[in-house]
């Protein structure tokens, strides 16, 4: 089962509120996390996103799509990075996410990727 694990927040406030040591440690932690996922054969994708202040938002203006500068939400609510992992079950996805949250302290969302088989083909006496 695949899950997307999403971290929110922005780099600007991170740099402002955390010590240099913490940031160095965080980078090492994230590198290790990805290495462990790779070694377990669970990593599908992992990306960090450029800061939300660099984002553009496209919306309809006078009936046509127009791009404007700036994030569409509070920067602390915008997506900062994500993993897609392929794991045995939801418990494993939550275990992984708990490890991240124990370090970062920021709320992190776990969503199943839509790739389950249709009902007729699901083995099941659940």
């Amino acid at each position: 089962m695949k899950y997307m694990i999403m971290m929110f927040g922005d780099q600007a406030s991170l740099v402002e509120t955390r010590s240099r040591e913490w940031i160095v440690e965080m980078i090492a932690f994230m590198t290790k996390v990805n290495e462990d996922l790779t070694a377990a054969g669970e990593l599908v994708a992992a990306e960090g996103l450029a800061d939300a202040s660099q984002a553009k938002t496209v919306r309809i203006q006078n009936g046509i799509p127009v791009a404007t500068d700036g994030p569409y939400a509070e920067s602390k609510e915008s997506l900062a990075g994500y993993w897609i992992i392929d794991v045995e079950n939801e418990a494993r996805a939550l275990e992984f996410t708990s490890k991240i949250v124990a370090f970062t302290g920021g709320a992190t969302e776990v969503r199943q990727v839509m790739d389950a088989p249709p009902e007729e083909y699901r083995s099941g006496d659940g």
Partner: protein, 406 residues
Amino acid sequence: MTADFAIEALLRELAPQVLGTLVRRHGQFDACEDAVQEALVAAALQWTSDGLPENPRSWLVTVASRRLVDEWRSESARRRREEAAATLEVAGAGHVPGEDDTLTLLFLCCHPSLSPPSQLALTLRAVGGLTTQEIARAFLVPEATMAQRISRAKQSIKVSGLPFALPPEPERADRLRVVLQVLYLIFNEGYTTSSGPALQRADLTTEAIRLTRLLHELAPGEGEVAGLLALMLLTEARRAARSSADGALVPLTEQRRDLWNSAQIEEGVALVTRTLGKAPVGPYQLQAAIAAVHDEAASPEDTDWPQILALYEVLEHVTPGPVVTLNRAVAVAMVDGPRAGLAVLGTLDADARMTQTHRLEAVRGHLLELAGDTAAARDSYQRAARMTASVPEQRYLTLRAARLPR
């Protein structure tokens, strides 16, 4: 094209036999498995251009053994000891042990100490003879991820020091159950379609059927093996009818039955008929029997629902669980009317195992619709659509809801 296909089929059939031979001689499952993969790749290239060797199995054993020796030679620390051993091995290449090796491999790859994703991947590679790239593509993960998963699974087998032998008799039934589970999961994976265009994953169902058929030939007396093979065939038979040209799901009652594969139905029905009553009854045989009743009906109206209901009652007795009850509710609705089915569903409302799945609400929507309560049916379909993790199913449920009046 046909020649290539024949070569591939032959290679896939020989893969576990060759691996079994090597492991029996050298005991190093890990290294042997890599060597066999390389030999398979070499064979695919060479046999296609030069034609089949006289004895394909010996050819593969010899080439794989040579790879193994090369690998050992490159490890200078081991050189002396291994070289002597390997020379001996290659000299004995003519001897090929029996088909039990394939069965032994299957049990090893489906060892309960491995996680299900590892069991699936390793079975497909070591027993199925698929390449890592093919397996990665089928599971929609990067090739490096799949390679790592397989290598880790092999490492666990190495560390655990599992013998290359059939499980002892007292464990055999439990171990066989895990093997069947893995094969059924492979089959189910074959029907997974992700977002975007329907993906080419039919190969996994074909492969699951091939491996189950192989297991059935090796263990013809096992009723549940025959049952699983029949269930797969009877399910796979409806493949062409179960989605429309645009990829939308078509429910059983609306499928064009002339698109069903009659050869697969015939084989599945014959298997069920032959097995039921002779072996101890089990969940796969019962599910296959239910699938057979559906497949034998010329039209939805001809379906023998009392028979299906009776089978679900036995199934619920053999393996009680909320999903079986859910299916029985549908059968009850077809025999005694939708309100009777809804009453059975009501018994599941308090079941915690049902809160995480869309199935309860999807079935409720269907039965409410049959009962004429379209507003409530619409709500149920919408709730179910929000809960499913299957793209085609979500579309189906959303459309179902949208076509009912508010």
